[in-house]
Symmetry: C2
Subunit: 339 residues, 2 copies
């Protein structure tokens, strides 16, 4: 079945194709029954696959000797859709040979090629980039994280539908609470676009999930499951959170290395700190999904190692096997029958 097949761009990312194949080996153990079509240079791929017994039965290699480079412009990449590993992997989803595609390659190219190749889902005004972020008590899905710099109120509503379906089916929250990212929680905060979208949510089929506005410091307090915003502020939010977490760990490292007591303290608490590092491990949240297209597109971090890439493949698998796009279509129909 198509939904059990994932297309893989094996040539994108700093550590490709090695970490791609190693990542597939990890994900495959966690997802028995799933098959992969792997696009890339077979001279590099076949020796890597030789060592992976568990992949032999589930991987089909399609030889492509060209690939999109990291610095390449999206407009130029678009013209090379037919000849590159990224383009052919996306085409596998377009042709319904696979339900999802994963790439660690050039983000701009992947977005442009995916939108062009897969087309928008009927009823969705714009696709959005979504990712899972950690909170005090669990996880949250946030979108858009950079696919759309400017957004209309209709875009925000569509993002909300996609976010709610994601939270229900991927995060396993039957009654997700959704908030719009804003500069305050009072009704009159933010611009007219966000206020219009907010009124529309309150009057919609989704009002039961809609919790109003959330400020930047509230997104991680565990009170929400979905955060919706325009791609500009979403990107700022995601990257500021990443940068601040890094700053904190930098400060902590300084504390432990600045004195003998600090070093002893670290040695004694070592196992707890390793636990903390595991908890904060960004590799567990690797994989941003481009939602709203006829097929699931997952962008892995360009610097992904095997553990990281495996999480991106897990996410693509879960969404494809779980029929995510069919669920969105159903919710959109529900929304329209009310309005």
């Amino acid at each position: 079945m198509v939904k059990n097949t994932i297309a893989i761009d094996a040539m994108g990312g700093d550590n490709a194709p090695k970490s791609v194949i190693a990542g597939l080996a990890i994900s495959s153990v966690r997802n028995p029954g799933v098959e992969y079509i792997v696009y890339g240079d077979e001279n590099k791929l076949l020796p890597l696959l030789k060592k992976r017994d568990n992949l032999k039965k589930v991987v089909k290699v399609v030889h492509v000797d060209d690939w999109i480079r990291a610095g390449e412009k999206a407009s130029k990449a678009l013209r090379r859709a037919k000849t590159t590993s990224m383009g052919q992997a996306i085409a596998a989803v377009t042709n319904r040979e696979a339900g999802a595609i994963v790439s660690a390659g050039n983000s701009g190219a992947l977005l442009a090629m995916s939108i062009f190749g897969l087309r928008k889902l009927s009823g969705i005004s714009r696709p959005a980039l979504a990712a899972v972020m950690p909170t005090v008590s669990g996880e949250i899905v946030a979108l858009d994280l950079g696919a759309n710099i400017d957004c209309s109120s209709q875009n925000l509503i569509d993002f909300s539908v996609m976010g709610i379906v994601f939270a229900k089916n991927v995060l396993g929250k039957p009654n997700p609470r959704l908030a719009f990212l804003n500069v305050g929680v009072e009704e009159n905060k933010g611009g007219t676009i966000i206020q219009e979208a907010s009124s529309a949510m309150e009057e919609s089929h989704f009002s039961k999930y809609y919790a109003g506005y959330a400020e930047g410091n509230q997104i991680i307090n565990g009170n929400f499951d979905v955060i919706v915003c325009d791609g500009f502020s979403g990107n700022i939010m995601l990257k500021t959170a990443e940068g601040t977490a890094k700053l904190c760990s930098e400060y902590l490292k300084q504390v432990f290395s600045s004195s003998i007591l600090g070093k002893i303290s670290f040695a004694i608490g070592r196992s707890s700190f390793i636990g903390l590092r595991k908890k904060l491990d960004p590799r567990k949240h690797n994989g941003a999904v481009l939602l709203g297209l006829n097929g699931i597109v997952v962008k892995s971090h360009g610097g992904a190692d095997s553990i990281s890439f495996a999480h991106a493949v897990d996410l693509a698998t879960e969404m494809s096997v779980g029929n995510y796009n069919e669920l969105i279509k159903k919710e959109l129909n529900n929304l329209k029958s009310i309005h």
Copy 2:
């Protein structure tokens, strides 16, 4: 002299007027020669001042028995400018009795009343809210943090001028490096407004300070001294950083309390952790400044304690005594003579 006098709204904030007077006592020791006009209920203020010998000679109390409440709307507050402690403290700056005003009261009311009462500096298209944030290697000033939801390219250029003067004179960086907050560092990132402002900066008198775009994860890496953005994304950035820092310290607390070894580790590293907590202490960065008006307006956090409020008063003092507004006027003239 006016610039050595600071007007204080003693009735704003959760802990007013107690933490206000205690904060003044701390700041006054650090800033000898500075005087304060304190607006508020003298029945509450005089007993508090009685205990503070070092304030007796430098504080003048002006009795006002009304004040702006926390939840009050800005439009309603504006009508009560003449009868409230906040309104009268701002008027002291308008009338040139003081060079700066500090309030821990209602933010929206303070912004509206200040803009209405003090008027914009000539040559500045819009005032902006600025604050100092910690980085890996020092401090950075960021603006706008929420005074303007939408910004034109001219607004961003004006914020840049104000930010550069701030970095030079308040942060003590003779050659500040300024970046616009954006979703990528390439020239074509962001919308047309930010791109226009970027081109204008490159061709301006300030090109030597202009370092291009910075992403959310780069603001704290120590490579920049000034971050300029619209008030919506700036507010998201600031609050996301606050929230994430809190999440990290929450996780850390869990590590130290989750096991006996964690507790022992904390006990041994105690002094280092206290050092870290001091370093991260948000009270040291209390005080957001509304730049671009005829007078300095400093908003203290509403929940400020005395240490926190003292930092806000320090900031107001430094900017008033240092003739910050005159320096901005000079830089604006330089800018115009080039264009």
